[in-house]
Amino acid sequence: MKNLLTTTLAAILLMAGCGKFGSTNVDPNSPSQARTDLLMTQAERSVGTYAGDVDGTLYTQYFAETYYTDASRYSSSHYDFGGWYDGPLEDLQTIIDLNSNPDTKSASYVLAGGSNANQLAVANILKAYYFHTMTDRWGPIPYSEALKGGDNYTPAYDSQKSIYMDLISKLKAAVNNMASGPGVTGDYIFNGDMGMWTKFANTLRARIALRMSEVDPSTAETEFKAAYNDGLITEDVMYPYLSDDNNDNPWQDRFQTRTDYAITKFMADTMKSLGDQRVLKYADPAEDLDNGDGVTQMNEIVGMPYGLSKDDAAAISYTAVSFPGHAIRSSTSPLPVMTMAEVNFMLAEATQRGWISTGTTAAQYYQMGIKASMQQWGTYDAATFANYMSQSEVAYDPANWKQKIGFQKWLALFPQGYESWSEWRRLGYPVLTPAPAGAISQIPVRQGYPESESELNSDSYNKAVDMLGGNDNLTTNLWWDK
């Protein structure tokens, strides 16, 4: 009996006494090492998200909401930026860290993404691209202290000016530090073409420099010139969507079961009155007016008044207005990221301002911009183009260059809502009427920070609001928006 007791006791203690579990806690579901080319693929996807985003297209009045008009009426003040940081930016930061850390930079799963130098270059360029889109929405944002993980859960916000300066220097460094030899892998936007990345980075620099034109013209000029001399893009950069429902055009998904957006009356009327053929791509026929021949015609296009109250919007039938054109909302319709039209309008403005002198006049660049846009949408033919350009509303006028370029750039940037909204804020054209039933009486010039920041990062948040002049709202002008 005593033996049995002792044995049992011993068994219990033996069984429980050690706490050695071997590899039990090694996660069999997720890799512990990241192949950087796979991170790169993931990080690029947000370019597609941004290219197909909605809110900017409302502010800039490309589209009007058909019934649920809250967003068009500026009802939302706060917009979340968390997904940019813990999404693509953190993926890019991880690529940068893995390629910089002496312990990991030579590992095979890191070199799978290409040479360290080229991976760092592309990751930094994309990071700059995302940060630029963000600072143009919110103004001061966490930047220099962001993406530090557990080392800093409450990163400070940097001023927009310092972010702009740093973006320019980061983009320069990225290009300068590229290595010869094979490009990065996992990159489906440029397929590892480092030459394209160089041009993309330079054009982004030009875009950033130009944005400072009103607040810091001399830096804007210097940096624009430098970017121009380094070489801008020579073809449209489009985001490629796939037919696969997981990777397709976001407008296609929005219209799969709903009809929430129509082209605005302002844009439809303006384009129709100018005989601008692009409108046939920008909009589909209104159902009530569709003659059913499968070809969109000017007289089938009806715009929706922008920013109505729900009550007034309800009085307009879904079948009476034109939804966005299938050119931008089929599952594989690519959406513009950076176009030759934009480049030409930038050059027109730089020439007009006297920053560059290339032998081409501002008027010529302006015309090239319109032509590039029409070519981009496949509506160019020489006769209609000449006709179009001959109209006084279109023809270039150096005395009113901001109005001319502003208006045509707005048409050409369609449907890049946020970029168009930024350029509208900078140039002040075209003249848009705020939503008649707006929650505020002006078009927003900024988006508010996510509410969670005032809870989770309150000190930094409060300082950022001070930087903005005391208000975290839609009506505070950003640093470059004078």
Binding site: L9, N29, N246, Y318, E455
Partner: protein, 1111 residues
């Protein structure tokens, strides 16, 4: 550690002893003191020898071979007071005749505590409350958790609505604290069983404790604090529910059969109050169409065809704004109009003719929503066979429970097979086997929440609907050509759905299924080394396999789709233990030492189609048009534990317990995976003191106190960095950095509880008051802390925080009436949270988001937060902007919200101030009547149903009259007769409609407005405060009348008992802030803290009858 355990063990061994010498026998007869009747089956025990005997049918007993000496003899019998006497054995035969006294209240109740150790209730040193099985299963209840509502002090149940058939009931023991949801560990006959909740596509698939067969439960003990729970280790931080199932009895009737049938009918009980005055649409006037569906344009009294601009002089039909899924349409006054179905070529009226072009009068259908729901029918048949021989006992139950839900085409079928058996192989060696198998199959369990893919008809009825719709027409959801119709057509010329399918399409075509096999059970082998010492080995298993699928049928609004998930889980526990028990003259000692090895695995494979189905209605993953989404997950965790307890008793008056446990968890970092915790507790039965012996008012009084700890760990794979595999982009695979930052330095969290209790029983136990005060301090919880995503992570896993909660619990029982025919029992359970503080979070943070409701709109938010220095569980959201305490009204005529400037207004905690239950049981001869209600005071919840109900013009609040006596839906007009969206009262036209809005302006001056209701309720959407309600309620849960046939009536039948009951379940919500919204059933999905509802399916009331036959 090992040293400590050994010394503990040697203490136990030291106390074992033996005696020898000359011997004699003790014999006698036991009788009832008042009646003089002989009592069979009375236990006669000599603690000093650990031996005893039971009386025979004549009440006689004999104990042989007693060594000469002086002993205490004890006689115990259920329902009688314990008898004790000292006696000296110094001759061959000593006679001791014993008279024992019956007692009305069982002062010596036995309660099941940790590890199935039964203890006399009087010896308990901490708060344990027991509920008998018959109280759980009464009134056809089938879910363990929801059946506990109101029955245990300190327990709050957040139930789910009856029409969710088997939806999750969430249990909170002593409130909620910390940053993660705590749920108690459920242990059935020593087997820990999973109580996880699942949801799929907005469908609440219920919590797994619903697999327990309530008919088989003998008792449920709720161990609330760490003192009682610590023995169960790292999953007991949220308390433990210990369940003992019924078995046969050794030596009882060899064969007893019980059959039971319960049949009941359910109907929808709570629906929001709807308005029945205005039809669907977004505009208050009809829209003119040609009879063949061309939009007309009226200009200067002349109609034109809108499309062509041609003048039109033919018949003009009135159409509604079918596309707008709200009810701001024309007043329903019997005007002729074209209903939605008149735009389809089909026969809807049953006259054999195409109804295209039919106009009908526009009339209210006040019961349209109610008419959608069926009467639910439940039928349960259960048969159990039990018996025993001298060395064995068994019980087998077969049960079949079928339920047809109130939502059309929904059903839930369960089938149980339970076995409990024991066999004594010898005097010393005993085997016990318990085996439980349950199969659950369901179909059409409803989706809930805001935007579930398969559609949620209830959400549509309460949030997006037309009040004029006639359900009988919608019932015909398919057209002769096989396509589907809907009320929410895009336009007369395009009768395709815009936002909503026909609700009948959703319930008859988008039909989800579940199938679960569950097995749990235990085998134990016990060997009695000496009468005082036994060793046991046990194997416990809990295994399930769970397949779910979801469908979106082809031909409806949404792209067709199929998704299926297979889950399986296995938990095995291998346990060894030594138990020592000995009573001395004044002292009693119990010791328990055990070790456990737990091994749990979980696997999940989820698959869903992408881009539609290649073959319509082929619900198979191979029908995916694009590359399907497939994901797999597998998990393994192991925990090793050693634990022991020593209980000492002195003169049945003073008791002391010591508990010690150490766990090693594989989920913690290898070098820091061991954690130790302990508990001390004691009790003092002061009525045993001589001064209490000379009174007969206070029959029993006990003080108890405890201080103890319980540890907690985490799920596996959270300490090392990994990357998440993402959906590939074409041929490019993708990986992402997870949003939660792991932590290699985590350690176990420890919760410390202090508890004081007082148990008083009066007048021989006819009245009882039991009160408990507790304090619970959680430290270093393992938290997924919400952090600024600008860090690159939105959550960080850390050890942090300190949370303190304090509360009191009270149980009051009384039997005010008790005589030969009549008996009235009353029971009250009540508990109050005194405080529940977030003392500290992480130094880097002052506030933590706990949960946000899941619904689509951004901008203005609402969330549940833990804020440092404040009460736990605050609802933080925009509120009314106030000036000097009065709500400010904007010049646009609606209340100003704080969402722009301060979206973080504190609206109070979700936890109730107090809650409880009250039960009355009245019996007269063979009749027994029970009524049971539960109640809750305070706590906040948020209702999206109410918000949308008003936003969409469906709710009763959107109609009625304003102070001018005009309908609020009439145009708002100013003194000049101009239609405006709002007007100050003094400037309003006498015929102005509009909602009356009273408040102050920015300067604090009183203002009154009349505001267009559509504008007003849209503005209120942003102002969350209006829809945050007090969760107080009183609810009648059960009414039951039972009649047991007198034995004389059935004496000549093979039956030994018949009883028949009529019952009503959840018959009445007696009180709530909004009587059309039941705060006790706001759980609308499987997870979360249970503080908001939206798209919730309606509650039900059930009426039924039970027949129990015993053979």
């Amino acid at each position: 550690m090992v040293k400590k355990l050994l010394s503990l063990l040697s203490l136990c061994l030291f106390m074992a002893g033996a005696a020898f010498g000359q011997s004699g026998s003790l014999t006698g007869k036991v009788t009832d003191k008042s009646s003089g009747e002989a009592l069979p089956g009375v236990n006669i025990f000599i603690p000093g020898l650990q031996r005893g005997a039971a009386t025979d049918a004549q009440g006689k007993y004999t104990i042989d071979d007693i060594d000469y000496g002086t002993y205490t003899v004890r006689a115990t019998y259920v329902g009688y007071k314990t008898y004790k006497k000292k006696i000296t054995i110094n001759q061959q035969t000593t006679t001791l005749n014993i008279q024992i006294t019956s007692q009305t209240e069982k002062l010596n109740d036995v309660v099941v505590t940790a590890y199935g150790l039964t203890r006399q209730e009087r010896s308990l040193t901490s708060s344990v409350q027991e509920v008998k099985g018959d109280q759980l299963a009464e009134a056809g209840n089938s879910d363990l958790v929801s059946s506990l509502a109101g029955k245990v002090a300190g327990v709050q149940i957040i139930g789910s609505p009856g029409s969710a058939i088997g939806g999750t009931s969430k249990i909170r023991i002593r409130g909620e604290s910390g940053l993660s949801q705590s749920s108690p560990l459920i242990v059935v006959d020593g087997t820990p069983i999973s109580n996880q909740s699942f949801s799929s596509q907005g469908r609440d698939l219920g919590n797994l404790a619903q697999d327990l067969n309530l008919d088989d439960i003998e008792s449920v003990s709720v161990l609330k604090g760490a003192a009682a729970a610590a023995m169960y280790g790292n999953r007991a931080a949220g308390g433990v529910i210990v369940i003992k199932t019924k078995g046969g009895s050794v030596g009882e009737r060899p064969f007893e059969v019980k059959y039971s049938n319960t049949t009941s009918v359910s109907q929808v009980s709570t629906l929001p109050n709807y308005q029945n005055k205005y039809a669907g649409g977004g505009t208050s006037s009809f829209i003119p169409y040609t009879p063949d569906g061309q939009l007309l344009d009226l200009q200067n009294g002349q109609y034109y065809i809108d499309k062509t601009g041609q003048p039109y002089n033919g018949q003009v039909d009135n159409a509604l704004d079918y596309a707008t899924d709200e009810s701001w349409g024309p007043e329903m006054k019997g005007q002729m109009f074209r209903p939605w179905w008149s735009w389809y070529h089909a026969d809807f009226t049953g006259d054999g003719k195409d109804d295209y072009g039919t106009s009908i009068p526009l009339e209210p259908h006040p019961n349209n929503v109610k008419n959608f729901y069926d009467n639910g029918v439940q039928e349960t048949n259960s048969i159990s066979i039990s018996g025993g021989a001298s060395n064995s006992s068994y019980r087998v139950t077969v049960k079949d429970a079928n339920q047809q839900g109130v939502i059309p085409n929904s059903k839930l079928d369960k089938w149980y097979l339970d076995f409990n058996g024991s066999l004594a192989h010898s005097d010393k060696l005993t085997s016990k086997l318990s085996f439980n198998y349950v199969n659950t199959q369901s179909q059409g369990r409803p989706a809930q929440g805001y935007s579930p893919l398969p559609g949620n008809p209830t959400q549509s009825f309460n949030q997006w609907f037309h009040r004029n719709l006639d359900m009988s027409k919608l019932r015909q959801y398919q057209l002769p050509d096989g396509t589907y119709d809907t009320w929410n057509i895009i336009s007369p010329s395009n009768p395709n759905p815009l936002y909503w399918n026909n609700p009948y399409f959703d319930v008859y075509q988008n039909v989800p299924h579940e199938d679960r096999d569950r097995f749990y059970g235990t085998y134990s082998l016990t060997y009695e080394l000496t009468p005082n010492l036994q060793v046991a080995g046990k194997i416990h298993g809990d295994v399930y396999k769970f397949k779910t699928d979801d469908r979106v049928a082809s031909g409806g609004l949404n792209q067709d789709w199929y998704a299926t998930t297979n889950r399986d889980r296995r938990e095995m526990n291998y346990e060894g233990s030594i138990q020592y028990q000995r009573d001395f003259n004044d002292w009693s000692v119990k010791g328990f030492l055990g070790g456990n090895y737990r091994d749990q695995t979980y696997n999940r494979v989820s698959q869903s189609t992408v881009g539609g189905l290649s073959v319509p209605n082929l619900y198979n993953i191979s029908a995916s048009s694009d590359r399907p989404n497939v994901s797999g997950y597998t998990q393994n965790k192991k925990v090793e534990s050693v634990y022991g307890t020593v209980n000492l008793g002195y003169q049945d008056m003073v008791y002391a317990d010591v508990t010690l446990r150490n766990d090693w968890s594989s989920a913690l970092p290898q070098n820091n995976n061991s954690y130790l915790y302990y508990g001390f507790s004691g009790s003092f039965v002061f009525t045993e003191l001589p001064i209490f012996q000379k009174q007969n008012i206070l029959s029993f009084g006990k003080l108890r106190a405890s201080y103890s700890q319980v540890g907690n760990d985490l799920s596996p794979y959270q300490i090392a960095s990994t990357y998440n595999v993402q959906t590939p982009r074409g041929s490019n695979p993708a990986l992402a950095v997870p949003n939660t930052r792991p932590n290699p330095n985590l350690k176990a969290a420890i919760k410390t509880d202090t508890e004081l209790g007082l148990d008083l029983r009066f007048l021989k136990g006819r009245f009882r008051v039991d009160g408990t005060w507790y304090q619970s301090v959680s430290k270093n919880e393992i938290l997924n802390l919400q952090v600024s995503p600008a860090s690159g992570y939105s959550q960080a896993l850390i050890n942090a925080g300190k949370f303190t909660k304090k509360g009191v619990e009270l149980q009051v029982n009384g039997t005010p009436v008790q005589n030969k025919d009549w008996n009235l029992d009353l029971t009250l359970n009540w508990s109050k949270t005194l405080s529940n503080k977030v003392n500290a979070l992480d130094p880097r943070l002052t506030s933590r988001l706990l949960e946000k409701p899941t619904y689509f709109i951004g901008g203005s938010v609402i969330g549940l937060y833990a804020r440092e220095g404040e009460t736990w569980g605050k609802i933080i959201a925009p509120g009314y902007k106030r000036v000097n305490g009065q709500p400010e009204v904007a010049s646009s005529g609606y209340f100003k919200g704080t969402f722009a400037e301060d979206p973080t207004v504190d609206h109070g905690t979700i936890l109730p101030d107090w809650n409880g239950g009250f039960r009355a049981n009245l019996s007269y001869k063979n009749f027994s009547f029970t009524a049971f209600l539960d109640f809750q005071k305070g706590g906040k919840f948020y209702s999206l149903t109410k918000l949308w109900n008003n936003y969409s013009g469906l709710g009763a609040e959107t109609v009625g009259s304003n102070p001018l006596g005009n309908p609020i839906r009439d145009d708002v007009v100013d003194a000049n007769g101009n239609v405006v969206s709002s007007v100050e009262m003094q400037n309003a036209g006498s015929n102005s409609g509009g909602v009356y809005v009273k408040g102050v302006d920015a300067n604090g001056n009183a203002v009154e407005y009349l505001t267009n209701p559509k504008v007003y309720y849209l503005a209120q959407f942003y102002n969350k405060e209006q829809y945050i309600y007090d969760a107080s309620y009183i609810k009648l849960r059960t009414v039951k009348l039972t009649y047991s046939l007198p034995t004389s009536l059935i004496a000549k039948t093979p039956l030994s008992g018949i009883d028949v009951s009529l019952f009503a379940n959840d018959p009445l919500l007696i009180y709530a802030t909004k009587m059309d919204l039941d705060p006790s059933i706001i759980q609308n999905h499987g997870n979360g803290f249970g503080w908001w509802e939206g798209g919730t399916v309606p509650g039900t009331r059930t009426f039924g009858a039970t027949v129990n036959l015993t053979f």
